[in-house]
C-alpha cells in the first residue's frame, strides 16, 4: 500500500515550510527527496517518522509500518559499543551482520568516542538497517563516507528497497542515481 501525503501544511513561527503539499510514495523502492537547503526535506522525514506533527492535511498508509531513520547526526549512545548501539534496536546477530557489511567487523567493541566520524556514520546506518523497518528514512547518509563505502551503501540500499521503501535525502546528484523516483520539495 502506497503512502499518500495530502495537503500537508507545516510552519515554524512565520517560516512556512509546507503549504498544501501533496505527493505519493510507493511501498517499495528508492525515492529521492530533492530541494534546496531549508526547503523542508528533513521536516518531511520528521513528519513521516512521527517526530513532528503537521498542522494541516494528512498522511495515510503509515499505519502499523515500522520506520527506521538515519538522522543527519549519528545520535549514538556514547556509553555503548558499536555492537551494542546496533543490537539495542534488534539483536546481536543482525547487528554483527550489518556492521560487518559496512566494514566494521573489527570495531564492534569500540565506543563512538573511539570511532572516526565516518565509522560512527556507518554504525548509525547499521542501526537503521538492523531495525528492519518497512520504511527507511535516510538524511544525508553518505556524509563522511569514502567512494568505496558509498558504493557499498548504494548496493545495500538497492537490496533493501526490494522489500522496503527507502526515502533518501542527499544533495549529491551522483548519490541519488540509485533512486527510482525523485520528489522535489520547493518549500
Amino acid at each position: 500500500m502506497s503512502i499518500l501525503i495530502k495537503n500537508l501544511s507545516k510552519s515554524f513561527g512565520t517560516n512556512i515550510v509546507f503549504n498544501n503539499f501533496s505527493t505519493e510514495l510507493p511501498d517499495k523502492g528508492i525515492v529521492h527527496l530533492r530541494g534546496a537547503s531549508g526547503s523542508g526535506k528533513t521536516t518531511l522525514l520528521r513528519i513521516l517518522s512521527g517526530l513532528e506533527q503537521a498542522e494541516g492535511g494528512g498522511i495515510s498508509g503509515l499505519e502499523s509500518k515500522k520506520i527506521a531513520y538515519v538522522f543527519q547526526e549519528d545520535r549514538l549512545l556514547h556509553e555503548l559499543s558499536a555492537l551494542e548501539n546496533v543490537s539495542i534496536v534488534s539483536n546481536e546477530e543482525q547487528a554483527r551482520f550489518w556492521l560487518g557489511r559496512l566494514g566494521l567487523s573489527h570495531e564492534l567493541n569500540k565506543k563512538p568516542p573511539q570511532l572516526s566520524g565516518g565509522m560512527c556514520r556507518r554504525v548509525a546506518i547499521a542501526r537503521a538497517l538492523a531495525y528492519r523497518g518497512d520504511i527507511l528514512l535516510l538524511d544525508e547518509p553518505f556524509n563522511g563516507l569514502d567512494a568505496e563505502l558509498k558504493k557499498i551503501l548504494s548496493e545495500i540500499l538497492m537490496e533493501v528497497s526490494t522489500k522496503a521503501l527507502v526515502v533518501l535525502v542527499t544533495h549529491e546528484q551522483g548519490e541519488a542515481d540509485i533512486a527510482e523516483q525523485t520528489i522535489s520539495i520547493d518549500g
Binding site: L51, Y69, F71, R75, L77, E79, I88
Partner: protein
C-alpha cells in the same frame, strides 16, 4: 618508566606542599594562642592534640564518634533517596512539580536552626539530627537530579522514540547516564553540609551518645580544650567521609 617517575615526583612535591601549608596554619594558630595566652578563649594546637589523645584512649570517644557518624550517614542516605524520588516525580508529572515546588523553596529558605527547633517539638530528640541532615540533603539532590533529567539529550530521546525503546531502555540508556554526573556532584556537595547540619542538630537536640552533646557540654563547662578537640574530630570525620565518597563515586563513574 620516565613518565611514572616524574608522576611520582610531582605527587611527592604536591604532598610536601600540602604538609607545609598545614604546618604554617598550625604555627599561626600556636602564635595566636600564645599571644592571647588565655586557654578559656583559645587553646594551642599542642593542648588540643594532647586532649585529643586523652579522649581517644577512652572507649566512649569511639562510640560517640561512631553514633554521630551513623546518624549523619543515615540522614544523608534518606536525603538522597527522598531527593531523587522527588526529582523523578516532579520532572515527569507536571502537577507534582507545581505542588511540590513551593515546598522545595520553603526547605531551601528555612534556616537549619528553625528546622531543628521545630523537629525537637515534633519528634524524638535522638532522631532530630537524622531529620535535619535529610532536610539539608533533599533539596540539593532534588535540584541536581532534576537538572540531570532535563539535560537528557533531546536527539537521543527522539532516536529512542523512532526505534521504539521501552521505558526501561530509555531510563537506563539515556536518562541514567545523563543524570549521573549531576547526581554525583549533588552527593559531593551534600556530604559536607550534611555533617555541619547533623552536628548542629546534635548540639541543639543533645541525643545520648553524640559528638554534638560533648560540644555542648564543653561550652557549658567552658572546657575550651574539649571544644577544640571535638571540633578537630568533626572536621577529620567529615574529611574522611568526603574522601571515601569521592572514591566510591569515581569507582561507580569509572564503571559506567
Amino acid at each position: 618508566m620516565i613518565t611514572s617517575t616524574s608522576q611520582s615526583n610531582s605527587r611527592a612535591v604536591k604532598a610536601l606542599r600540602k604538609t607545609a601549608v598545614i604546618l604554617v596554619w598550625l604555627l599561626l594558630w600556636q602564635i595566636i594562642a600564645t599571644a592571647v595566652n588565655k586557654e578559656i578563649l583559645i587553646v594551642s594546637p599542642v593542648v588540643t592534640a594532647k586532649r585529643l589523645v586523652e579522649l581517644a584512649t577512652q572507649g566512649e570517644f569511639w562510640l560517640l564518634s561512631l553514633m554521630t557518624l551513623i546518624r549523619i550517614i543515615k540522614g544523608y542516605l534518606i536525603g538522597i533517596v527522598v531527593g531523587t524520588a522527588a526529582a523523578v516525580l516532579t520532572a515527569n508529572i507536571k502537577i507534582a512539580d507545581e505542588f511540590l515546588k513551593p515546598l522545595l523553596s520553603v526547605i531551601r529558605a528555612t534556616p537549619v536552626a528553625s528546622f531543628i527547633i521545630l523537629a525537637l517539638v515534633w519528634i524524638r530528640r535522638d532522631n532530630v539530627p537524622l531529620f535535619a541532615t535529610s532536610l539539608i540533603v533533599i533539596p540539593i539532590i532534588w535540584a541536581n537530579v532534576t537538572q540531570g533529567i532535563y539535560s537528557a539529550d533531546r536527539d537521543l530521546l527522539e532516536m529512542a522514540k523512532v526505534f521504539g525503546f521501552s521505558k526501561r531502555k530509555k531510563l537506563f540508556k539515556i536518562y541514567v547516564p545523563s543524570v549521573m554526573p549531576f547526581f554525583f556532584a549533588g552527593c559531593s556537595t551534600a556530604i559536607g553540609l550534611a555533617w555541619k547540619s547533623g552536628v548542629a542538630a546534635e548540639v541543639l537536640s543533645l541525643p545520648s551518645l553524640s559528638i554534638g552533646k560533648e560540644l555542648y557540654y564543653s561550652k557549658i563547662y567552658i572546657e575550651t580544650a574539649d571544644l577544640f578537640a571535638w571540633t578537630v574530630v568533626v572536621i577529620t570525620l567529615s574529611m574522611i567521609l568526603e574522601k571515601l565518597l569521592k572514591k566510591v563515586l569515581s569507582g561507580i563513574g569509572g564503571r559506567q
